[in-house]
Amino acid sequence: MHDVDLVVVGAGPVGLYAAYYAGFRGLRTAVVDSLPEPGGQISALYPEKMIYDVAGFPGVRGRDLVAGLRDQAEMYAPTWLLGQSACQLERLADGRLRLTTTASEVTTRSIVIAGGIGTFSPRPLPAGTEYLGRGLDHFVTDPTQYAGHHVLVVGGGDSAVDWALTLEPLAASITLAHRRGRFTAHASSVARLRDSSTTVLTPYVVHELSGRDAVRRAVLRHTDSGDLHEVDCSRVVAALGFTADLGPLNGWGLRVVDRHIAVDSTMSTGVAGIYAAGDITDYLGKVRLISVGFGEAALAVNNAAAASDPDAALFPGHSTENAA
């Protein structure tokens, strides 16, 4: 159970900036995100791409922007509630809000929803969902857990190829299976993959996983011929990308239209204590840019702070004069 002044839902670029700003305003802050690492759409969809339209950066790689925003937020040490989805939101008798996630409960005075295009869920591996947590995973959070194992990586994007390259020196063997001959990963990474000891099998999909308590074997199927190929593996990484969905946010009593939340010029959703910022918002003239989202994050936090504390000013002063 956590008790804070402000919860940021979503740890993408806008959520991270909102977390910094709330800390700067002296608010006890928690940040919730369903993914295990911050970065939102940037990390999920384009971490390696150069972004040219963020104010102050003639060009910045997605992952570097996320790293900078995380460092900035870390200056005020928010409570990170990552790898958990925001589920239920309730109003308490004293007017505060209680947010329940898949792993925590947080009570707070205000919420800033920086939900972007919705919660990212890893695309499931159709043939193996029952092995999740029993040898099958969608993320490699700790490469040492794969040492000495026979590993199967499924996918053809940068995540799949990068993880195969990372695990190759540690694992007993690595096989990578992708359903197309072409990889969407960087050509140079794919070249390194082919030069490595990794067995690259394309075009194959996972037909079946088997094993009693945990994964022991995978049967792959050639997508053209239908031929089957068996691979012994005690670890499987399914790096098949993400899909996004507003999910539980749809049930929070907010004005949701077409995957967006309507806000006014204070970034209030119209429900006391609940604000939104970034791509998830909608209002007359809205343009979905990171830089626009940053502005909205500052508006949302400042307005949330002023609304929840009669002694708090809307404008907190300049950061150059006061680090709170």
């Binding site: 969809l45 295009i117 197309r180 072409r182 993400f242 899909t243 995957r259």
Partner: protein, 114 residues
């Protein structure tokens, strides 16, 4: 300004795009892919991965492509051969599966000699 799939996709159907789309709005027709403009969220993740650069943005539109932009919409709002009603906005291509039909425009693209 949603994205759309132009003629370069016809009879190629590489499908790299569907791996990238976070909202699963790219649907497989008979001869080409179609992006549902009412489901597309303009994230742009699909555009760079197409090996034949068939995906275009509504923003930088070549006059020759405008007809394909409209055709992508028509795939979902019109009634396709073999169907009784428009496909509409089913909310995800994975749920719907491949749709064994094309718009008239896509059907009329000549088959390239191989």
């Amino acid at each position: 300004m949603p994205y759309f799939v132009a003629a370069d996709c016809v009879d190629v159907l590489d499908r790299s795009c569907i791996d990238e789309c976070p909202v699963d709005c790219i649907y497989e027709g008979g001869r080409k892919m179609y992006i549902n403009p009412s489901e597309c969220i303009d994230c742009g993740a699909c555009e760079p991965v197409c090996p034949v650069t068939a995906i275009r943005s509504d923003l930088r539109i070549d006059p020759a492509d405008a007809v394909w932009r409209d055709d992508n919409a028509a795939f979902f709002t019109g009634v396709l051969p073999g169907h009784d009603a428009p496909i509409g906005a089913p909310g995800g291509a994975a749920k719907t599966g491949a749709i064994d039909a094309d718009t008239e425009l896509a059907t009329r693209v000549p088959v390239s000699p191989t």
